[in-house]
């Protein structure tokens, strides 16, 4: 069972945890001006109380962290060097864990693509493009690309480690993108799924929408060559004026 500990010295008595808890675990003690844990059994470990707590006074014990892939490893390293024994988020360290997670994700992606095909039919490429363009507007823009080449560099960075992209761009209208490693392709090979299916179409359009939005261009697919080792896209680039 999850155990909630409140550091009474640190607590500033703001009652924000009482407001924030979705299952009303806390009750405010008006005399002592601190919150008390009254329904500990109800806690399901969403950690919203420790997130809102201005003094970091709430800690949880026996909590099951889900594997997280979104933490920045550099930041975790810095945090650990601020003090040696800090409880840190559990970042997955071994590659077996990562491989298992990617396989799980691959299966979900494949079934998602087939559902999209069933419900949307011919508009599948358009959905991919839209999604890519939306992603491009929502990512951090601390490096705003000035050219198509820079946009491609950012795309390569963004798609590793799941996809290993190798774009070749001549600076004008000719672009060819090699997809060297693709975790979905490996999965397709194991499961005997034909390459160039719905997910491939969705992925290409996603990539095209993303780089197009970043590089302010429209990409037109000339030829796609799926293969068991690497896939290749021949693309014509129209830079928007």
């Amino acid at each position: 069972m999850i155990k909630i500990l409140i550091d009474e010295d640190a607590c500033v008595g703001c009652e924000l945890c009482v407001d924030e808890c979705p299952t009303d675990v806390f009750e405010f003690n008006e005399e002592k001006k601190i919150p008390e844990v009254v329904k500990e059994k109800e806690c399901f470990g969403c950690l919203s109380c420790s997130e809102i707590c201005p003094a970091d006074a709430i800690t949880h014990e026996d909590i099951i962290h889900s594997e997280d892939y979104y933490h920045d490893e550099e930041n975790i390293r810095l945090a650990s060097k601020l003090a040696v024994d800090v409880p840190l988020p559990n970042t997955p360290s071994d590659s077996a864990h990562k491989a298992a997670a990617l396989e799980d994700l691959g299966i979900r992606l494949l079934s998602m693509a087939s559902i999209f095909r069933q419900t949307l039919g011919g508009s599948l490429p358009a959905v991919g493009t839209m999604a890519g363009r939306t992603l491009a507007t929502q990512l951090p823009r601390y490096r705003v690309p000035q050219s198509m080449q820079e946009a491609l560099d950012i795309a390569v960075q963004q798609f590793t480690p799941a996809w290993d992209l190798e774009p070749e761009y001549d600076g004008g209208s000719k672009l060819s993108i090699k997809v060297k490693n693709c975790f979905v392709r490996e999965l397709c090979g194991e499961e005997g799924i034909e390459l160039g299916g719905d997910l491939c179409i969705l992925f290409y359009n996603y990539l095209a929408g993303y780089t197009g939005k970043l590089g302010n261009a429209r990409l037109k697919l000339l030829e796609s060559c799926p293969g068991p080792k690497e896939c290749k896209y021949e693309v014509e680039v129209f830079i928007r004026k």
Partner: protein
């Protein structure tokens, strides 16, 4: 017994962190029984980089000289400590991250009315780098002591621990945990841009409609400012939550807490912090911890 040798270096900073070492007062004398300062720019004249067990580096990397000096420090010191907020996060000089090098130099030596008529850049000064870099982007750092300057308590703690004293628990909580003010809910509070009225004693600044960064700042100061009536400026850098969780940010957390306490519109607070980003993000502006956050766009907020 051989004394532990400590070497310190002063890069792009204000020397405040070195003065904080002297602020150990009598404790410094106790410390000198066990350690020997082989290089400390503010107290003695030593141009070389002698070998040392512990190295303390103050300030961020701003010029070519800073970079070379830092690399020499790494080569000569066994344990290297980033000492003070500038060294850990870039600090106030990190504001140079917002602008291009040429526009800064032109502004100072050509466009300012009091600049010399010939508009020449000074000769012999170390070449300025394009941006401001926290130390761990350049070399490996073993420990970080943020704070502007670090409180002498934490300096003594760090040095004593490195000398082999038993490890004392070090607070990983925010400034609020050490603050004596009471955070309470209020109604009808007006949002204050800056501080226009005298703050009430014993009541949290956020409850009074004044922005205080205590709840998003690591406690490396024992809440000296808020306890004495000045809102926290965030000088010890972001709290553990903000460092480790990419989706949490200074402005969103302050706006959320303040609006939950006072009912002031969250977007009003957030827009004000964005408009004054150079003030509220000043201590960690050039740190990837802040500028790599998906929703933080300080360059855009600052108008370039």
């Amino acid at each position: 017994m051989m004394k532990t040798r400590i070497s310190t270096e002063w890069l792009s900073g204000c020397s405040g962190c070195h003065v904080a070492v002297v602020d150990l007062h009598e404790k410094l004398l106790n410390l000198l029984d066990d350690v020997e300062f082989v290089r400390i720019p503010v107290l003695m004249d030593e141009k070389g980089y002698p070998e040392a067990e512990v190295g303390l580096v103050e300030g961020a990397v701003r010029s070519e000289h800073d970079r070379k000096a830092l690399i020499r420090m790494r080569e000569t010191c066994k344990t290297l400590i980033a000492f003070g907020t500038c060294a850990v996060y870039g600090g106030p000089s990190g504001i140079g991250w917002l602008y291009e090098k040429d526009s800064i130099l032109n502004k100072i030596y050509k466009e300012t009315p009091t600049a010399a008529d010939d508009g020449k850049f000074p000769e012999g000064a170390p070449e300025l780098e394009q941006s401001v870099t926290p130390l761990n982007e350049v070399v490996d750092i073993d420990f970080f002591i943020p704070g502007c300057p670090p409180h002498p308590y934490y300096i003594a703690l760090a040095v004593n621990t490195l000398l082999g004293a038993s490890k004392l628990p070090i607070s990983m909580k925010t400034v609020c945990s050490a603050c004596n003010r009471r955070m309470e809910k209020r109604e009808g509070v007006k949002f204050q841009r800056g501080m226009s009225t005298a703050p009430e004693e014993d009541i949290c600044f956020l409850s009074q409609g004044v922005i205080c960064l205590g709840s998003v700042t690591l406690d490396r100061c024992q809440a000296q400012c808020p306890n004495k009536g000045i809102a926290c400026a965030g000088c010890a850098g972001p709290s553990m939550d903000i460092i480790t969780e990419p989706h949490l940010d200074i402005r969103t957390m302050i706006a959320k807490r303040m609006s939950m306490l006072t009912g002031i519109d969250r977007s009003e607070i957030q827009e004000y912090i964005e408009k004054e980003a150079k003030t509220f993000y000043s201590y960690a502006i050039s740190s990837p911890i802040i500028y790599k956050k998906p929703t933080v766009e300080i360059r855009e907020w600052a108008g370039n």
